[in-house]
C-alpha cells in the first residue's frame, strides 16, 4: 500500500506522513523523484530512521520515533510548522483512517467509545490545510467490517477532504459521484472489493473521474 501510494506523489512534493503505515511511504520513493518530508513536530527534510539503538532522543518524528535530518533540512517551532500546514504550503499528506465516507469525510482520531482516551494530535490541522489528502488503510477492519462507508459513524476528523484511498485490495478515488475504483490489487476482482465496500463502488471502466483536489 505504501509503495503504491508513493507512485502517485509528484516529484518535488512537500509531503507530511501520518503515524503508522503512512510512515512506510518514505521507504518507497520511486527512482528519479525527490520528496521533502515534513514532520509536524518541527522538521522539514526528515530522513530515514537511524537504525535500531541509534539516533538522538531530541531528533524525532510526529510518532515520537527517532529519525534523521537530511542535508538542507530545517528545524522550526510548532506555530511555524502548523503555519506550513494550515497555510496551504504542503502539497500532500498521507494519513491512516478508521473510516472514510464516499463524500470524502474522514474519521481517524476517535472511536467515540466512552472509556477511550480521546487524542487528536495534528490530524485536524493537516486535513484543514493540506491540498491533497491520501489515505492508506486496510479495506476492512479485523472483523471484516468495511472502512469505506456511505457515512462515518465515528467522530469526524473533517468532512469532505479525502482524495484517494490506497487499501490492501484496491485504489479508490473519492469523486463527486462517490467511490470510483481506479485499480485492483493483483488477483482481486471488482465483485470481491465491492462486497467489502460499505458504499456503492463505481467500476473502473464506467466513467473517467478525477480525484478531488482542493486548491
Amino acid at each position: 500500500m505504501a509503495e503504491r501510494a508513493a507512485l502517485d506523489i509528484p516529484d518535488g512534493s512537500y509531503v507530511n506522513l501520518g503515524i503508522g503505515i503512512p510512515e512506510l511511504v518514505a521507504a518507497h520513493v520511486p527512482e528519479g523523484r525527490e520528496f521533502i518530508y515534513h514532520t509536524e513536530n518541527g522538521l522539514l527534510g526528515m530522513g530515514p530512521s537511524p537504525g535500531p539503538g541509534r539516533g538522538e532522543p531530541e531528533l524525532i518524528n510526529a510518532g515520537k520515533k527517532r529519525v534523521t535530518a537530511l542535508p538542507g533540512a530545517s528545524y522550526f517551532h510548532h506555530a511555524d510548522s502548523f503555519a506550513m500546514i494550515r497555510g496551504g504550503h504542503l502539497d500532500l499528506c498521507v494519513l491512516g483512517a478508521l473510516q472514510v465516507a464516499e463524500t470524502g469525510d474522514l474519521a481517524n482520531w476517535s472511536t467515540g467509545a466512552p472509556d477511550a482516551i480521546p487524542a487528536v494530535g495534528g490530524a485536524m490541522d493537516l486535513v484543514a490545510g493540506v491540498r491533497t489528502i491520501f489515505v492508506i488503510t486496510q479495506h476492512v477492519t479485523r472483523d471484516g467490517t468495511p472502512k469505506l462507508v456511505t457515512a462515518c459513524t465515528y467522530p469526524l476528523t473533517s468532512p469532505g477532504v479525502v482524495s484517494r484511498i490506497f487499501t490492501d485490495l484496491a485504489v479508490v478515488d473519492v469523486t463527486a459521484d462517490g467511490f470510483q475504483l481506479t485499480e485492483l490489487a493483483p488477483d482481486v476482482s471488482y465483485e470481491y472489493v465491492a462486497e467489502r465496500t460499505g458504499a456503492p463502488l463505481i467500476p473502473m471502466d464506467s466513467s473517467v473521474s478525477k480525484a478531488r483536489s482542493r486548491s
Partner: protein, 236 residues
C-alpha cells in the same frame, strides 16, 4: 547588569503557587524540562492546569507530576503515548480533567496568547465534535471556528543554550512548543544545557529573544525521559 541566571531548578520554580496555569515545553521527551518539573514536584504546588502536547511517560517528568496528584486539568492534543499509563488511569477515574485541542490550534492559541491576540479563527476542527459550542464565522465562503489565546502564570522550557539575558537556542526537534510558551508565560523559567556569556550567541541565530525569559538555570547534563523510563525510575 541584567543577569537572569539562578543557582538551581528549585530556585527557578520557587514561586509556582497552587492553582496556577503552567505551560511545559516538549513533544514527547524531546524538549521536556525534566529537572524543572521534578523541582516543581518537590515544591508541592497543586491544583495546577498544565499545558503540554502530551501527558508524559513512565513515572518521571510530567507523568510524575500528574501521578503525584498535582494536576487538576491537562490542556493537550495527544494524551495517549507509548508508556503513558498515569494519565489514562486518573482520567478514567475522574481525578483529572482534559481539554483536548488540535495540535496546530494548541500551538496557535499559545502563540496568540503570547502575542496579545485574545482570539483567532481557524479552519481546524470545523464540522467535528471539537468545534461544538464554539463560535464559528464564514470568511470568503469557508467556515472557521474561533479559538481563544492561551497564557500561563508560568512556563517551564528546556533550551540547548542560554545567555544571562535569556536569549535561547534549542536542540533539533526539542524546539517544538518552547519558543511559543516562552512568549505566553508571565514567568518563564528555562533550564539550559549550557549558559554562555553575553555575546556567546550570534544575534542572527537567537531563536527566543531574552525579553520573553525570566530565569535561566544551567542543567549541564539533563536526564532523558526514555533513559529514566527504561531503567524503571519513579520520581520522587
Amino acid at each position: 547588569m541584567i543577569d537572569k541566571t539562578v543557582a538551581s531548578p528549585a530556585e527557578a520554580v520557587a514561586d509556582i503557587f497552587d492553582g496556577s496555569t503552567v505551560m511545559i515545553g516538549g513533544f514527547g521527551e524531546a524538549g521536556s524540562p525534566i529537572e524543572l518539573i521534578h523541582a516543581l514536584i518537590d515544591r508541592g504546588a497543586t491544583g495546577l492546569t498544565v499545558v503540554n502536547n502530551n501527558t508524559g511517560s513512565g513515572e518521571v517528568g510530567l507523568a510524575a507530576l500528574i501521578k503525584a496528584g498535582r494536576v487538576a486539568k491537562m490542556i493537550c492534543s495527544y494524551p495517549r503515548t507509548a508508556n503513558s499509563r498515569v494519565f489514562p488511569e486518573l482520567y478514567r477515574s475522574g481525578r483529572v480533567d482534559l481539554e483536548l485541542v488540535p495540535q496546530g490550534t494548541l500551538a496557535e492559541r499559545i502563540r496568540a496568547g503570547g502575542a496579545g491576540v485574545p482570539a483567532f479563527y481557524t479552519p481546524s476542527s470545523v464540522g467535528t465534535p471539537l468545534a461544538h459550542g464554539k463560535e464559528t464565522r464564514e470568511f470568503d465562503g469557508r467556515e472557521y471556528v474561533m479559538e481563544r489565546g492561551l497564557t500561563a502564570d508560568f512556563s517551564l522550557v528546556k533550551a540547548k543554550a542560554a545567555d544571562p539575558h535569556g536569549n535561547l537556542l534549542f536542540n533539533k526537534t526539542a524546539r517544538n512548543f518552547s519558543p511559543l510558551m516562552a512568549m505566553a508565560g508571565k514567568v518563564v523559567a528555562v533550564q539550559a544545557d549550557a549558559v554562555v556569556a553575553i555575546g556567546g550567541i550570534d544575534p542572527e541565530c537567537v531563536v527566543t529573544p531574552g525579553i520573553f525569559v525570566t530565569r535561566v538555570v544551567e542543567v549541564a547534563d539533563p536526564a532523558q525521559e526514555s533513559d529514566l523510563v527504561a531503567s524503571g525510575v519513579s520520581y520522587p
